[in-house]
Amino acid sequence: MSTIPGTLLTPKQVADRRVQSPHTSMFARMLLRAAVLRRRRAASALLAMVVAAAVATTMMNLYVDVQAKLRTEFRNYGANVVIVGKDGQSLPADALAKVESVLGAKTLAVPFSYAVARTKDGQSVVVVGTDFARARQLNHWWKVSHWPDAPNEALIGMRAASVVSPNRQPFELTFQGKAIQLAPAGMLQTGAGEDSRIYLDQSAFQNWTGVAPSTIEVAANGTAAEVEASIRQLAPLLPAADIRPVRQIMEGEANVLNKTRATIYASATLVVLTSALCVLATLIGWVFDRRRDFAIMKALGASERLINGFFAAEAAALGVVGAILGFFIGIGVAAWIGRVNFHAPVVPRFSVFPYVLAGSVAVALISAILPIELLRRVQPAIILRGE
């Protein structure tokens, strides 16, 4: 062992190194040779370690990510917050901009304005003005035969269609004496109130009726607490509006999410425990198998501390290597599961790594120390005689 060129050391440090270096090098050589000479056993121990770390990483990644993934699925249920003008009043013109500035770009906010118009034969029908591009993103469940693309084209609910335009012909509606000619673009089917309505583009609707949006439906991302916080933040900005969560959606989501999370948590715990058990069994076998090394070291006069240190260092090295390899494999598997199941990869969480590392090293150390404790009580001679 020579000093590293370019580093300045005091004579005392150099002397210290001389004393320590052969010792450390022997230690390192023993570690290395143990791994090389018994590579099959070492490989199987490492394999167990890698598999366990990979499974643990996958499970932790999934557990952390699955809530975000499921939340995205739940957003398909549509708006979870509704903003309505008090007493049916229209909302101020800048309401939509305010909502978007508070809730951020990822939130979807769709304005709706309502009016009751009359058909030629005097039937009342609800006409709604909205932004089709946004409504389409918000309400994935709307079954639409064709979305309108011209201002005088309307989207007609299934039941409204049989009243206003049974043969898909253009039709006329009047609102407070003002008439409008509309062409049906497509049919809308939802199984709910929308089926009896007629949807128009917001600007065409406003030109015709002069009615501004009275409702904004918002699909806010995040946990229930985050959504509540956004609502509290919005309330002072829109004093003329009632802002309320859609309880049907919020409670259903919370319910399903909690149950799923708890199930995944229980399963992940079981899986991680089982893989830890697998590592324990393999490593105990590995160390036990080397009782002759242990006995020779002891017979040659190695201190108990050195032997313990040797086996502990070996186990720790195995734990570290296994954790690193397993972590990357686990991230790959988690990403694959995300793609297969959620059609979006699970984002790797490197924050999980310290836990995997600590867990692997801890399990490795436990499985090294257990057999050593047993062997310590046995005379080296007995082990060497092969009894």
Binding site: Q123, R159, E251, T263, S267, V271
Partner: protein, 430 residues
């Protein structure tokens, strides 16, 4: 000789066998629990998804358009057609009646509150809260408390009290929506005059939707107010359904008889709607797409996830079992050397090890299956508050898997032990 060797091996190496047995038991227990949870999770989550409310709506076939803006019904009350309340219990006679969690009829009416010039229109909805009905010999209860679980009834000031709560279905008591109650300055116990009747408010209703501005009453009361006995405007049905697939979306009219039978006998939301139309005359049943379409996706995602997690659990338990077996066999090389030195063939030695492995797998498998069943029950009870049932058919499957995994885990180790030179083994080298 053979049984004796196996017997003595268990007797003399009881501790070592116990360790391998524990590994097998734990592995099998985890596998059993995970398989049980994964096979049942669809049903469990399906029930949880019912907290999103009804997924089917039944309306009269010849109904006029709904004219409703912001929860205020503008449609003339006598307009349009009605369903007959007497037909509702027949829903329990449909093919998939076990899948129908509950149903709630709705009858909206527009009433005037207040006198003279400050009178205003308010919507009153008649429904079932938790109505006791019977069909044939079967008694059951149904209503909004089942189909609309997010409806909350309170005393208005956030406090609970025995004096306020859900009204009885046969009473003349009503619920008032929280925003309407605030406007009217009414609290539970007060009376409200509606169409010449003095009705007692039994609770304040909070739903986060249009009902907050409405009055909700027992169905019979709404029928009296409207003067239409037995009338129901809409019926919400909450049913457990199967996620949609290629078959579910096909039109039943174009199906061959076999395909039709398969479609009819699958709990698709479409086939349940079809069966509801069959039992309720002059009705049109339709899925509420917001609820029905999304639950399929959520359900298949969660089921897929659990399937993958179960595979991981199976892999981990298989590895744990094989690791334990490999270790147990590797330690017995000396024994193998001795047997071989005494003239035992490779086959005879392997047979002993496999017999031991079989015994361990059977005992560990049975113990593990019972432990796993308990574990699954515990998971079901603590997470879903309901039993996770284990199919008895799972038992032989689990046992077969346990034997297979134990054999597979032992095979490599047995082969190595048998191939090992007896001389080295006996000298204690290697």
């Amino acid at each position: 000789m053979f049984p004796r060797i196996v017997y003595e091996s268990f007797r003399r190496q009881a501790r070592r066998k116990l360790l391998a047995g524990i590994a097998i038991t734990l592995g099998v227990a985890v596998a059993t629990a995970m398989i049980a949870v994964a096979t049942d999770i669809g049903d469990k989550i399906n029930r949880e998804l019912r907290s999103y409310g009804a997924n089917l709506v039944v309306t009269p076939q010849e109904d006029t358009l709904d004219v409703e803006v912001g929860g205020v019904n503008l449609k003339p009350p006598s307009d349009g057609a009605f369903l007959n309340e007497a037909d509702l219990p027949k829903i329990r006679g449909t093919f998939w009646h076990h899948n129908i969690v509950g149903f709630s009829p709705m009858l909206p009416a527009t009433i005037k509150l207040g006198n003279g010039s400050d009178a205003k229109d308010v919507t009153l909805v008649g429904t079932y809260f938790n109505k006791a009905l019977s069909f044939g010999k079967e008694d059951f209860t149904t209503g909004v408390r089942i189909t609309h679980p997010w409806w909350k009834v309170s005393c208005g000031d956030g406090k609970e009290s025995p004096n306020c709560g859900w009204p009885d279905d046969n009473s003349q008591n009503i619920l008032v929506g929280e925003r309407l109650a605030a406007k009217l300055v009414k609290k539970p116990g007060d009376t409200l005059e509606i169409s010449g009747r003095q009705l007692t408010i039994s609770g304040i209703l909070s739903t986060g939707a249009a009902e907050d501005d409405q009055i909700v009453s027992p169905l019979a009361l709404a029928q009296q107010i409207l003067g239409k006995p037995g009338a129901v405007r809409r019926l919400y049905v909450s049913a457990l359904t199967k996620p949609p697939d290629a078959l579910s979306v096909r039109d039943p009219k174009t199906m061959t008889p076999e395909v039709y039978d398969r479609w009819y006998c699958s709990p698709y939301v479409e086939s349940i709607a079809y069966q509801l139309q069959e039992v309720i005359p002059h009705s049109h049943a339709e899925q509420i797409r917001q609820v029905a379409q999304n639950e399929g996706t959520v359900l298949s995602r969660i089921k897929g996830l659990m399937l993958l997690v179960t595979l991981a659990a199976l892999l981990a338990s298989a590895l744990a079992v094989s690791a334990a077996m490999a270790t147990a066999i590797y330690e017995r090389r000396v024994e193998v050397g001795l047997m071989k030195a005494l003239g035992a063939g490779d086959l005879a030695v392997s047979a002993i090890f496999f017999a031991e492995a079989l015994l361990l797998a059977l005992v560990g498998g049975i113990a593990g299956f019972s432990a796993g069943a308990l574990l699954a029950r515990q998971i079901g009870r603590s997470i879903f508050h309901s039993q996770i049932s284990i199919e008895p058919v799972l038992f032989p499957v689990i046992l077969a898997i346990a034997v297979f995994v134990t054999f597979a885990g032992s095979a490599a180790a047995i082969r190595r032990a048998v191939k090992f030179d007896p001389v080295f083994a006996l000298r204690g080298e290697g």
